[in-house]
Amino acid sequence: MGQLTYIEASARALAEEMRRDPKVWALGEDLGRGGVFGQYKGLVEEFGPDRIADTPISEATIMGAATGAALVGTRPVVEMRFSDFALCAVDELVNQAAKARFMFGGQARVPLVVRQPIGMWRSSAAQHSQSLEAWYVHIPGLVVVCPATPADNHGLLKAAIRADDPVVYMEHKGLWPLTGEVPDDPDPDHLVPLGKARVAREGGDVTIVTWSRSVHTALEAAALAEARDVSVEVIDLRTLWPWDQEAVFESVKRTGRLLVAQEAVQVGGFGAEVAASAAEALGRDLKAPVRRVGSPRAPIAYARPLEQLLEISPERLAEAAVDLVRGAVAA
């Protein structure tokens, strides 16, 4: 095991998969200089400009061309820079890539990964900060992945590249510098399976289900709650579609309380799906009503104090967890 940042872990994963499979290639803007965040640093030197392809600022065609190239047997890794920009390519992803296999009666697959960095980060304002993962969970045909740790950004990206389905792969910009243990290169067995959650912290009183950067917020919240004698279990979903209902239900059955935490706008968010599913399946076993914590339905402001208002804080989450256990009425 070695220490890598979240961003280095993804670069290593891509390089390993490109060495393993000559069909894998990456395309997007600025990749030849390492990509906008440096996720592709060093790759063009090893793999050349055909496999680390610099494209025009043409999101629709980046996505559409990747779809066409996948249909004829290559395995593209698509870089969209910001999930906000990927909205320029929604037809190509939602109407084309996600549906081709089904519409064509199984004649073809679209094995591609589309990387769409999400999240609030350094006053990036309303068009560079969104967390739109729920949109893609809604679309049949897509797999949706939201890694929270360097190890997962290695193992999940490798699994996503090897999948024959189109995978929406959403890294959090705020996690790029996060350092953690990642299995040494090359460890071909380090594939984190898609659809399996991870217990990030064990606890007995309340289960927080979350993903992406909010996992770390939830871990901080768990420490705060512990100081108030409330034991919090934190489940990192890792993959939003398919999501690990079994792991979530097992934990919630044990704790009897569920709090879903997400950075995304709470209304219509993926947390609502988790909450509703748990209520349907486990309603009679719950000791308290299911609770959600997410962002208000407001565009993300530039000014740092306003941006911070929208973030879910460890304090807010801890308060909600303690309330669930102590039976306080939600504010």
Binding site: A60, T61, M63, V72, R101, G105, D164
Partner: protein
């Protein structure tokens, strides 16, 4: 018709056979739509058969095409079995897509037909990507991307042509200019000097051809394909034609004057080929009869076929996270 003194009669006869099969298919699809047997929208390419045949006659089995909602002719010309296509229109088992796609999503990968598309211009980036894939794979296959004149006002047109130029991809963009973008005259909603100028502005070698003259299309495309296989990069062909029917089989197209339509029927590309071949002693009636018999058989077969099994609504969605079939 092209200069009659040097006409290759066997080649023109082959074109006529393709055009007759397309025409018979479209007429049968129109009738089946009116009879309620084809439940979804059907966009007929009657009057545009010369482009499909002229282009696809220059392609090998390995070459690939993408097409549009008005794509039956391209499929047949590329080699898709009209019987499987009719089953698909009827939504039956055995259709090209197992009855799950319908007219607008016919695909037949085994003959290089990478899919029709329900979204205007959406086939352009896909065709470009298929050509990009060919380049990465070191293949010398070429890709033809069919679209209509309405598509040149969508963003993927600009993006896709630019992409093909900068990566020097073997894509032939065929703009079938039939005069209408759905029920609106394309000229009324299109600025500037038109498709050829737009293509040239994006660095794509472009030319215009009479799309109602199958041999002119054939000759132009032969040269395009030769240049593309030699690494010459993308090509653009503006093929002028006319949509002799409405936007869909249920559109009587009252927005155009009867005398205009009548004049255009007089330029029917299939009838023009029939006249030339008849003059040369070819029995065109026999070719028409053969085509009609094939398509009549396809309709009868489709009408008798079963619908897909219910569980097929849940399959071929995805490997990971696929929905469970619950009867």
């Amino acid at each position: 018709m092209t200069d009659r003194r040097n006409i290759d009669i066997p080649r023109l006869t082959a074109h006529y056979r393709t055009m007759a099969r397309i025409r018979a298919f479209e007429e049968a699809a129109e009738q089946a739509s009116k009879d309620g047997l084809v439940t979804g929208a059907v966009h007929l390419s009657i009057g545009q058969e010369g482009i499909a045949s002229g282009v696809c006659a220059n392609l090998t089995a390995d070459d690939q095409i993408t097409t549009t909602h008005r794509g039956h002719g391209h499929c047949i010309a590329k080699g898709t079995d009209p019987g499987a296509m009719m089953l698909e229109l009827f939504g039956r088992e055995g259709g090209t897509c197992g009855g799950k796609g319908g007219s607008m999503h016919i695909a037949d990968f085994k003959v290089g037909m990478l899919g029709a598309n329900g979204v205007v211009a959406a086939g352009i980036p896909i065709a470009v990507g298929a050509a990009h894939g060919a380049k990465l794979q070191g293949s010398n296959r070429v890709v033809v991307c069919f679209f209509g004149d309405g598509a040149i006002n969508r963003g993927p047109f600009l993006e896709g042509l630019n992409w093909a130029t900068i990566f020097r991809l073997p894509v032939l963009f065929v703009c079938e200019s039939n005069g209408f973008a759905s029920t609106t005259r394309t000229d009324a909603v299109t600025g500037g000097p038109g498709p050829v100028a737009r293509a040239e502005a994006l660095g794509v070698r472009a030319q215009e051809v009479d799309g109602n003259d199958v041999l002119a299309v054939d000759e132009a495309v032969a040269a395009c394909v030769e240049r593309m296989r030699a690494g010459g990069g993308p090509e653009f062909l503006l093929a002028r034609t006319y949509r002799l029917k409405g936007h869909t089989a249920s559109d009587p197209a009252p927005y155009r004057p009867a005398d205009e339509v009548e004049a255009r029927w007089a330029e029917d590309p299939k009838a023009a080929v029939a006249r030339t071949l008849a003059d040369a002693g070819v029995d065109v009636a026999a070719i028409d009869a053969e085509a009609k018999a094939e398509i009549d058989g396809a309709v009868a077969t489709a009408n008798a076929a079963g619908f897909p099994a219910p569980e097929r609504a849940y399959d071929d969605i995805q490997d990971i996270g696929a929905p469970a079939w619950a009867s």
